[in-house]
């Protein structure tokens, strides 16, 4: 977090996860990649376009009473590779983690190729070919995409 003032924008959470340093406007996409939607029961708050000393403006997400698994966290790399994840226990940050780009995105986002078999059966598997800037290649149809193309052309696996 960038300053005390920033922290005040949403109340501190007792237990849960704070995802910080999300590029501005990408907060909603982070929620959807994490599968946080209608059927999700924990309390979630999001700040959009809050000033950041390092990023200009940024988004922040706080999820209460729910731990995120490593695998879930790394999915965020597709949208916010520079995000940090803070694990909170009894109002204290107990662990701080940077996102690490996984070797592959399995069952996270569909292959944008409508003729790809992974959209008909099996599971989408996009292997990471380059981490920065992020480029992936479908393990099935072999088409390669930048993360921007992928997000523009495809949809997350629900």
């Amino acid at each position: 977090m960038d300053s005390e003032q920033d922290k005040m924008k949403i109340k501190k959470i007792e237990n849960g996860v704070v995802i910080d340093h999300i590029p501005k406007g990408k907060g909603l996409a982070v929620l959807s990649i994490l599968g946080i939607g209608e059927g999700f029961h924990a309390t979630v708050s999001m700040v959009m376009n809050t000033p950041s000393t390092t990023m200009g403006l940024k988004d922040i997400i706080k999820i209460e009473e729910r731990a995120l698994e490593e695998k879930e966290i790394n999915k965020i790399a597709l949208i916010a590779p520079a995000a940090t994840v803070n694990f909170v226990h009894e109002f204290q940050i107990v662990k701080k983690r940077k996102i690490s780009v996984p070797d592959a995105f399995e069952d996270v986002i569909r292959c944008p190729n409508p003729k790809c078999i992974s959209n008909k059966e099996g599971r989408p598997l996009l292997k990471v070919e380059r981490k920065s800037p992020l480029h992936v290649r479908c393990a099935y149809c072999e088409r390669a995409y930048s993360s921007e193309e992928l997000l523009e052309l495809s949809s997350f696996v629900a």
């Binding site: 190729n113 078999i117 099996g122 479908c138 393990a139 149809c141 072999e142 088409r143 390669a144």
Partner: protein, 303 residues
Amino acid sequence: MADYWAGRDILSTRDVPREAIEQIWHKAKKYDDAVTHKKSYDKHSGKVLASLFFEPSTRTQFSFQTAMQRLGGSIIAFSDADTTSVSKGETVYDTIRMVESCADVIVIRHSLEGAARLAADAASIPVINGGDGANQHPTQALLDTYTMFQKKGKLDGLTISMIGDLKNGRTIHSLCYALANFDCTIEMWSPPQLKLPQIILNDISEKVKVVELESLDLSNSDVVYATRIQKERFDDPEEAERYSYVIDAESVRKMKDDAIIMHPFPRVDEIATEVDSLPQAAYFAQEANGIPVRMAILDSVLG
């Protein structure tokens, strides 16, 4: 290098090393007499090839089936997915799980891209991609490069001109990745809407010299690789007309004397029949090479 292909799947030419391609050529050379003298071997008697053509292709299917039989093996096959349980919605995965208990090796053709990779995930026996959508047709690339090797002695130093529809042809895509292993120059000519996909161009440009031809000038070519331009690819029939081309005896005269002309077939009218009897015409030899090359492939994966 030990036999690269033993027990492996053949799904794509991307990431296949040069030595692996050359191994297939050298093995194929020993099987040339399967065509020239109709010779059969009993090297793989008792072995079964499952030939699964979800999308029909007489040429590729005959070639694989002949290759397996010339090696002494036998075949189980379907060539029309409509007559099988596949049309009732059975997945490729379940079809493969059923077939793998019957066979030692599988060849699959499917209209969806990545189908062969999915089949390989499902099967514990080697899977050979006989064409998946617009993605890959690796055994065609192996027989194409074998033909160049056979006719020109080597691929290094050659200028290979690919002309026609470079966008939709899986044959072209597989061949591009295979050629990227060699020290050759690839010339390309196609209508603007049928250019090689940018993804593939990026991949191969790192390894091989690619030149886009402004006009259909084949005077530098050692190998002319012609492909069909389907009229259905154009919205406007006049535009289709504008980009149609024919290689005839006159165009052959403007080529190098020792240039060769190849085509993955079927041809419509890209190459005039008057060219068939000229020494540059290599496409029938190329087509026949499907048999020794696929014998080499089956022999290698069966180990």
